[in-house]
Amino acid sequence: MGNTVTSENAKELPTSEQLLGMYERMLLIRGVEKQLSADFKAGQLPGAVHLYVGQEAVAVGMCEHLHDSDWITGTHRGHGHYLAKGGDPRPMLAEIYGKANGICQGMGGSMHVADFSKGIVGANGIVGGGLAITAGAALAANLEAKGQVAVCFFGDGAANQGVFMETLNVSTLWGLPMIFMCEHNTYSEFSPTDTVTAGELADRARAFGMPCTVVDGNDVTEVWKAAGAAVARARDGDGPSFIEAKTYRIHGHIEAEVHFLSSTYRDEEEIERWRQRDPIDRLKAQLLSSGAADDAALEEIGTRVQEEVTAAEEFAQAGAPASETLVFDLMSVGQNH
């Protein structure tokens, strides 16, 4: 994936080729999430889905700097992280469908999509659950000393978990190659962030002396620049960094919420305001105005992405039901393996 950004060129801008690559991945995430939203509405998904629509620039801007050998952990809203890191959409959709050909053989589902061959340790159903796991992967990377880094995507909600403070401490103390990629998407489930969070999140990380950057999370170039500096620092052995990307969750906390919430918790006007700042639309406008691409080129990308989404959907629907005995094999404590 992507090019390695070293300390020397971290402040540079992404090339047109990189921007086009990021555009395609953001479009893929959007396409998959829209497909899943439709699938959910059609009653085709066995479980809940938390969609990443509106936040695509964060995962893509970060993962552009990462290799397969680097580790990431995601959140319950984790499809975007998986796809941005190079995960295959076909077994991801199959996983969400609970099929045997799912990336986790139907044992994990939407909140646990993982592909270790791509360094995707996995999404996580526990808010803040990825922080310590990432620190552990960063610890391993440190011991290996091969320049690997570990990135934790977590939300503003997770920043209120005690383990956030603990991992800020331990990663700084031990100089771990870890990046805290905080996605401030304005809501902690159904609660506006400012009703559950005191102070500025970056100040919490700043207290530990690590570099902290607050960026517009709907501007992929801004995310890319901050991520590049943080990844370069980690690869160089200079320790952790914190990035807060201010963004917005366009869809609800979960797709099912319209069925069980008795009242609304945000108004259409607010959502529309953020739609005007859509990260994909902004990148598209940038690509066109800079001459990096024309309408025909972007349309070609759009067609290609749609084909990929359709293929993933077909792959998922055609999959056999998950094994009903695998759970016993995987949870066996009978003997050493």
Partner: protein
């Protein structure tokens, strides 16, 4: 064979496994100085890239074990007192026990968690628990409760070599106890109970800290003509159900001695297994000898009242046989 102390045997197991596999790493609170003596000398021997002190932050330490193991290391995490399992429980129950399943088997988690447990030293309620019942219920975790130096060494080596997250709970108060330990490289399998004493009249099932009072009780019973068979479970997950059932089929009477609180204890589980699989052989009810459902008091005299001892075992057995 040579006589060794319990903690010395654990220390030897750690040294041997760290020498055997360079991927074995060990961290935890104050492991460099070693409060219990089990990690003594490891820093000098293996250096700070293999063993190091951590901050006091169990929620992170348990989660880091998952991440480091998933990334290829064989992690030994020392939690000091086993009450701190509760402090680090989220990553234990929600990540460590479940990640292999949730990833469809993409990952193995070779993690061994060490912690001392048990009461009897006036450490008060927050440092005296026997917390394995919660671990037994999680699924996906192995639990070892060795009682002798030989089993401690063999089970720890087996735990570290395994790929399933394993809790190795040290009978801390028994750290000074001596026992014969084989000289050669050996491991002790999980899920195999040991019969410490054979007898035909009653079965005493014991584990960990309760093995010693069980043996003492058997001796007292023997002086009065009652031949007790004493089993040491050695591991609670997996549990050697067959050996327990076999013994009960022979004796027809059974008591289960456990330092956990009574409700949903290991003894409760073992009693349920006996009721299920050896009901035909029972000539009296299965009796659990456990800590009442209270937290551990501090005062030594108050503590002794709630911890099962040889007298309680003897009295319970006599009542069973008299009926």
């Amino acid at each position: 064979m040579a006589k060794k102390r319990y903690m010395q045997a654990i220390n030897e197991a750690l040294i041997e496994e760290m020498e055997r596999d360079p991927k074995v790493i060990l961290y935890g609170e104050d492991v460099e100085i070693s409060m219990f003596g089990d990690t003594t000398g490891l820093l000098d021997r293996f250096g700070p890239k293999r063993i190091w002190n951590s901050p006091i932050c169990e929620a992170t330490l348990t989660g880091m074990a998952v991440g480091a193991a998933a990334a290829g290391y064989r992690v030994v995490l020392h939690l000091m007192f086993s009450n701190f399992i509760y402090t680090g429980f989220d990553a234990i129950a929600n990540q460590m026990a479940k990640l292999r399943l949730m990833t469809g088997g993409q990952v193995k988690l070779p993690i061994t968690v060490l912690a001392g447990y048990g009461a009897g030293s006036s450490n008060a309620a927050q440092h005296s628990d026997t917390p394995y019942p919660v671990l037994l219920n999680v699924g996906g975790l192995r639990v070892a409760v060795p009682a002798t130096p030989a089993d401690a060494k063999g089970l720890l080596k087996e735990a570290i070599r395994g790929d399933v997250p394993t809790f190795f709970l040290e009978a801390t108060g028994r750290g000074g106890e001596q026992g014969e330990v084989p000289d050669e490289d050996y491991t002790t399998p999980f899920g195999v109970a040991s019969v410490l004493q054979e007898g035909k009249d009653v079965t005493i099932v014991s584990m960990g800290t309760m093995v010693k009072p069980a043996i003492a009780a058997a001796k007292m019973l023997g002086e009065n003509g009652v031949e007790a068979e004493v089993l040491d479970c050695r591991t609670l997950v997996p549990l050697d159900e067959d050996s327990i059932v076999r013994s009960v089929e022979k004796t027809g009477h059974v008591v289960v001695v456990d330092e956990a609180r009574d409700r949903c204890s290991a003894a409760s589980q073992i009693a349920a297994v006996i009721a299920d699989k050896a009901f035909h052989a029972l000539r009296s009810p299965v009796k659990r000898i456990t800590v009442p459902d209270v937290s551990m008091p501090y005062a030594p005299n108050a503590e002794l009242v709630v911890i099962p001892d040889a007298n309680r075992i003897v009295d319970t057995v006599r009542a069973l046989l008299a009926d």
